[in-house]
Symmetry: C2
């Protein structure tokens, strides 16, 4: 019984995801679904990306959290429109939540919408939320075996970001293995080595990101 119901919900989620996509396309908004473990550095990376992209794009953020609003407050302090999505215990964000939240943004004045998903390497990967593309963040301290252990997250993401790369000397982390494992489940994924703290690797990531954003927005006007 459980499996059947989950299946229905997930099919319904796909329909809603398509509707969200259509609405975003009508406003030429690129939605980026940011996923990763608790503490992988999702918020820190989003903050860095906003700093680098805000001159060029009008940015908004949906902050998914099970409880509290620590992350939303960080974004709000930057003067960026942010809506906190309190999932009240739920382990992932669904397309329906995004659909409900969209009217709270001034969609005519938005180019890029980051969605920081719940800190979880499992469930969020199962639910499309109308995104243009997905970023999977894996931080060095988590270990280099995570692609093998959580394959859906890495096989469905457009880019894999090895974050906290400046911490490499302090952990037994074989980044070549992560790259190899990712290629095994997702040959087309782009792989970046970055540090939200030190800033290393961000330039390469940003070049790719801008191209993807422009592509998603159906524009080459940059």
């Amino acid at each position: 019984m459980e499996i059947k119901v989950m299946h229905q919900i997930m099919e319904w989620n796909e329909d809603v995801s398509d509707e969200v996509k259509e609405e975003l396309a009508a406003h030429r908004i690129c939605l980026i679904n940011v996923m990763g473990s608790p503490g992988a550095g999702k918020t820190s990376l989003i903050v860095r990306l906003i700093e680098a992209l805000r001159e060029e794009y009008r940015i908004g953020v949906i902050e998914g959290d099970i409880a509290g609003q620590i992350d939303a407050e960080k974004i709000d302090a930057m003067g960026i429109p942010v809506v906190q999505l309190d999932t009240d215990g739920a382990c992932h964000i669904e397309a329906e939540s995004v659909r409900h939240i969209l009217p709270h943004f001034d969609l005519g004045n938005l180019d890029v919408l980051f969605v920081e998903n719940i800190g979880n390497l499992v469930c969020p990967a199962e639910f499309n939320i109308g995104e243009s593309f997905r970023l999977a963040i894996l931080s060095v301290p988590e270990g280099d075996d995570k692609v093998v252990k959580y394959p859906l997250m890495f096989s469905t993401s457009d880019a894999v970001l090895m974050n906290k790369y400046d911490m490499l000397p302090y952990f037994e982390f074989d980044d070549a293995r992560v790259e190899r494992d990712t290629r095994g489940v997702n040959p087309d994924a782009r792989i970046f080595r970055v540090s939200a703290r030190s800033g290393e690797g961000l330039e390469e990531l940003l070049a790719w990101l801008c191209a993807r954003i422009d592509d998603a927005r159906g524009s080459s006007m940059r």
Copy 2:
């Protein structure tokens, strides 16, 4: 509809959890539910604890994983009975799975059963699996805001282990804050600062653990 079904499943899970508890009690086995994020160090800590406890207790392990059997192979290499539970994508372990697995152990020759839950700070906390007690592992690189963000995990655990404590100099991690936040949601929780790698803090943890194991097994014969 989703909420209603989840509710039924969770009530049923509680019944099965009680049955697992009864069966374990009949064999005087202590089940320890080990939870934490991907990469928090659950396996490394279990390996350390087995090394320290195996002279005194007969130990078995259930290794929960969504895919792969990397962790189970590590335990097997120690000569410890281990059963791999492949959840095939599911984000947590339920009591029913434990009930199915128990007959695969020689229960008459077992004192302690570690269950390494799926790497996930959210869903596993919602499901009792017949455990005597719960350990929540939070590693220093994950950040000091996790208790506020994932309160159910920390409010339902008997002990909170700050792992990778040897990495404290390299991260902005306020361990006093974690302690304070934990006390806020769970005044009775024991809090330990440990490193599976360096071994620091393990002695204090082991003293507490042995007392809890003996208590769960209804014995003071140590």
